[in-house]
């Protein structure tokens, strides 16, 4: 299944979750829930929005080692944030404005591969989830995604971070995160200013702090194996690669960030060609959905501290083309985030936290429900919350240890959420230990080579609403505990 | 045996002569180390934002007189005021004769930093004065080689910009209480005032190359 299909599944799942409209037949509630759960379980395993990360073409362009812009990729330093805000063009030579420093032309291309990964789910009875990926089984090595990037200065003040990914498990190739920007930098009335335009396909991918959904920990996770079914619209990157957005931003005095972007669902033709397919039942935006972001960052010596807010308002047509005309789910997401970094000569520490609040009116699901069967009728509206906090310690930019805590909770809605008790709640911990030998420079034959070799452990306290009897299996949530091994290489 | 005894006596005598000197030397070494920061590694002078003159090979009497004048604040040119007055608040006057002696025994290559095109003009003024304007030859007091003697300072090899600054200090009325000799504190002032800007530069340029 392709990356886009993953998202589509999730959208479909969202649709399934939120509407309870699975087969257009009011089923026996338990059967319905079980089927929903199984489908959710299978499908959400593929939800991964593969984030992507220390890009060697940026290193070639700037002449800097990866460690200048990243603590442990993909986490950004203040310099990495500045590089992105300035449009990915720093160090580029493709411009006749007198800024080029050499006749060398660098191609803004890079490659990423996860040649081997392994996922082990604690309770092998949960193997059923991984059966959805026929060529992958519990505790077996299998190849992860392969990506190609166009990343760097395209021309003058236009730069890109554009990723296309081949997913061997799903055997599909499609576009991934794309952010193309035009940015200008200068000093106006004594104030440093960077301002620009971003065109991107995933709300929050254009952001520069590792607190937002597109870029937060975990940076890489298993594409097979259990994952909670529910989360906020922004928190789950529900519309990643499904939408196109254009926005403007300013970065004032190295400390104040203001952005406003508008997103709209992409037409069928584009999704078919670039997203590897078009699912008529996938949730779509009705009209344009504004996304905003405000942040204040103070940087002093080796420290940086950011406080910010972000949000999005969307009218979701959650049943896709099957949504009745003129009906949509007004959904508001408001997020608060904060990040603190201390980056020394040898040690580095980052602490991140983000909270997203969602209020959604379930007009579509109510409209599609069977008035005769109350078990299919969702609440008029629901609230959902996503909270995560994580902390990373990095030694010499080479050994990274991260601990993360994730909590989703919200109003119970039996008909909307495909969970045993109608609760969307999940709570888990994630630990990641990674070795990055080339952050300060790769081997002589290919100095821009970088690698992240890691092991990640996820422990579930609560999974899809329950502590026990997860997915109707009679098992504890902890039975979904997962170990994920990955080798992540960048060229 | 006799030879051994004689040798021993010689050694003892040598030690007696040099040991106290060695003990004394360490305390002025510390002060001389302090001077280096501004006056140059080899006391050849140094230019930072301000100018510190060459001290190497300066006459002992002149150095002592300047230290006294600075200490009493009678030497009042702006840089002396800004730097040397605070420095000498923690000076130990007892050390000044030995510091001056040590500096007078040093040597360093000349600064050689003046504009070369002015050197010939400067030589003429230094050696022959400017008779038309009643300016005496500098060499008459400072010596043909510019090395001075006693209270008349050495000017040979001095930093070009220091010589210019020093002459201008007198033009501007500083160092008017300079006790060159107790009887005649203002020897240099009338001379400096008689020279015009070009002449000052020429003399300074010439002197910067003199060994």
């Amino acid at each position: 299944m392709s990356v886009q299909q993953r998202s589509r599944e999730q959208a479909m799942l969202t649709y399934l979750d939120e509407s309870g409209y699975q087969r257009n037949i009011p089923l026996n509630p338990w059967l319905a829930r079980g089927a929903l759960a199984a489908a959710a379980f299978a499908a959400v395993g593929f939800i991964e929005t593969p984030a992507a990360h220390a890009v060697p073409s940026y290193a070639r362009q700037t002449g800097q080692p990866c460690a200048t812009c990243h603590t442990a990729f993909p986490e950004l330093t203040p310099y990495g944030r500045q590089f992105k805000l300035m449009g990915y063009t720093s160090g580029g030579t493709r411009c006749n404005d007198g800024s080029a420093k050499s006749d060398e032309t660098q191609l803004p291309l890079a490659l990423m591969t996860l040649p081997t990964t392994k996922t082990m789910v604690k309770n092998s009875d949960n193997q059923a989830a991984m059966g959805a990926a026929p060529n992958v089984s519990n505790n077996a090595w299998y190849p992860g995604q392969q990506s190609i990037f166009v990343a760097g200065q395209l021309y003058c003040d236009v730069g890109a971070f554009a990723q296309a990914t081949y997913d061997p498990v799903a055997n599909a190739f499609a576009w991934d995160n794309v952010d193309i920007r035009y940015a200008k930098t200068g000093v106006i009335n004594g104030t440093s200013v960077v301002y620009g335009i971003t065109a991107n396909n995933n709300p929050s991918v254009q952001d520069v702090w590792n607190t937002v959904p597109a870029w937060t920990f975990p940076y890489m996770d298993t594409a097979v194996g259990p994952a909670p079914a529910n989360g906020t619209m922004l928190g789950t990157s529900a519309y990643g690669q499904q939408v196109g957005g254009v926005g403007g931003y300013v970065w004032l005095n190295n400390s104040i960030y203001i952005e406003l972007t508008a997103y709209g669902s992409l037409p069928k033709r584009i999704l078919t060609d670039w997203n590897g397919g078009y699912d008529p039942a996938a949730s779509r935006l009705d009209g344009s959905a504004p996304y905003w972001r405000l942040a204040y960052e103070k940087t002093w010596d080796k420290n940086s501290l950011m406080f910010g807010t972000f949000g999005m308002y969307a009218n979701q047509r959650t049943a896709g083309e099957l949504t009745p005309a003129g009906v949509s789910d007004p959904t508001l997401n408001i997020g608060l985030d904060t990040q603190y970094q201390w980056i020394g000569e040898v040690h580095a520490v980052t602490v991140r936290a983000a909270y997203i609040w969602q209020r959604k009116k379930n007009n579509v699901e109510v409209a599609l429900s069977d008035p005769a069967d109350p078990t299919t009728i969702p609440n008029a509206s629901d609230t959902l919350n996503d909270f995560n906090i994580s902390a990373t310690y990095i030694y010499d930019r080479k050994i990274s240890f991260t601990t993360g805590y994730f909590n989703t909770w919200g109003t119970t809605d039996m008909a909307l959420y495909g969970t045993a008790n109608g609760s969307p709640d999940s709570r888990y911990w994630k630990f990641d230990l990674a070795y990055l030998p080339f952050m300060n420079g790769g081997p002589d034959i290919w100095p821009w080579f970088n690698a992240r070799i890691g092991v990640q452990y996820t422990h579930y306290d609560k999974f899809d609403g329950v502590w026990n009897d997860v997915n109707g299996t009679g098992l504890k949530a902890g039975g979904n505990d997962t170990v994920f091994l990955y080798t992540w290489l960048m060229f | 045996m006799r030879a051994g005894g004689f040798r021993l006596a010689v050694q003892a005598a040598v030690l007696a002569i040099f040991m106290p000197a060695a003990a004394q030397a360490s305390d002025i070494d510390e002060k001389l180390g302090y001077c280096r920061n501004c006056h140059g590694r080899h006391y050849e002078g140094f230019i930072g934002y301000y100018i510190a003159p060459r001290l190497a090979g300066q006459t002992q009497v002149y150095l002592e007189n300047q230290l006294k004048a600075i200490g009493k604040h009678t030497r009042d040119d702006p840089n002396a005021k800004r730097f040397m007055w605070p420095v000498l608040t923690h000076g130990a006057p007892a050390l000044w004769p030995r510091i001056s002696k040590r500096l007078s025994e040093m040597d360093a290559p000349p600064a050689a930093d003046g504009p070369k095109r002015l050197v010939e003009t400067g030589r003429k003024i230094f050696e022959g004065g400017v008779p038309d304007e009643n300016i005496p030859a500098c060499a008459a007091c400072h010596g043909e080689d510019g090395h001075g003697s006693d209270q008349v300072p050495r000017v040979a090899g001095q930093l070009y910009s220091y010589t210019v600054e020093a002459l201008n200090d007198w033009v501007q009325g500083h160092r008017a209480k300079d006790p060159v000799t107790p009887a005649d504190p203002n020897t240099m002032q009338p001379i400096a005032k008689s020279l015009n800007k070009e002449q000052i530069k020429a003399v300074a340029a010439f002197l910067s190359y003199q060994k």
Binding site: P78, G98, S99, S192 | C38, T89, G91
Partner: protein
């Protein structure tokens, strides 16, 4: 006999020429005043330096303010980054790679451009210690044989030529640089390690604080 004397003369003088040639590793910007480098320094600086040093070269995180810095000092430091003689960890991590990419024939014009950029004081030091810092900066500490900083760096820390402008520089950067000399990192500046050796940590902190509050003062000369 004539040739013999000539040969001796040449052999005697040759080492001085060799020394002179290698000493030219410090680029003499008066001999190469510009016009060699075809780039626009304003665009160049924004494209290549601003993502670390800030859009107005005002400094960012551990990267120092370069706006208003003297040409000779900038040129000298670029050369020291290039040959890695400036060997403290951050210089090696960030600047040695940069210096390898920047063309030497651009150094003089870059330095001239930077020296003309407007600047504002960082003001990130400790105000309570600034007065003590001012006293040390202007008068040194004669009781401890510490020379006055202003002798080389100017009465308002504006610097001149190879002596960097310190006024308005970030407290954190100045403090770290002084500490690096105390820690024994390379003697790129022959004067500073000995001077810092005479300062206590409190005095370093006071001087760095004082300097961070000094607004830009005009410097002598064009650059």
């Amino acid at each position: 006999m004539k040739f013999f004397r000539l040969t001796i003369a040449v052999l005697a003088i040759a080492p001085f020429f060799a020394a002179a040639v290698s000493a030219e590793s410090h680029r003499n910007c008066r001999k190469h005043p510009g016009g060699e480098w075809q780039m626009d320094p304003a665009e160049y600086v924004v494209r290549n330096c601003a993502f670390c040093h800030g859009p107005g070269m005002e400094g960012k995180a551990v990267a120092p303010r370069l706006a208003g810095q003297h040409q000779d000092y900038v040129v000298y430091q670029l050369e020291r980054f290039r040959d890695k003689s400036r060997n403290n960890p951050f210089s090696l991590k960030f600047m040695s790679h940069v210096a390898a990419k920047v063309l030497p024939d651009s150094y003089c014009e870059l330095g001239a451009y930077l020296s003309g950029m407007p600047t504002e004081a960082a003001k990130d030091g400790n105000k309570e210690h600034a007065a003590e810092g001012e006293d040390i900066f202007l008068h040194g500490k004669p009781s401890n044989n510490l020379p006055a900083c202003q002798f080389c760096h100017g009465p308002e820390a504006q610097g001149t030529g190879k002596f960097p402008r310190l006024g308005g520089q970030s407290y954190y950067y100045l403090k770290r640089r002084l500490e690096q000399w105390a820690e024994g990192y390379a003697v790129v500046s022959p004067h500073m390690p000995g001077i810092v050796g005479l300062m206590t940590p409190g005095e370093i902190e006071a001087v760095a604080s004082y300097l961070s509050f000094l607004e830009a003062a005009p410097s002598r000369g064009e650059y």
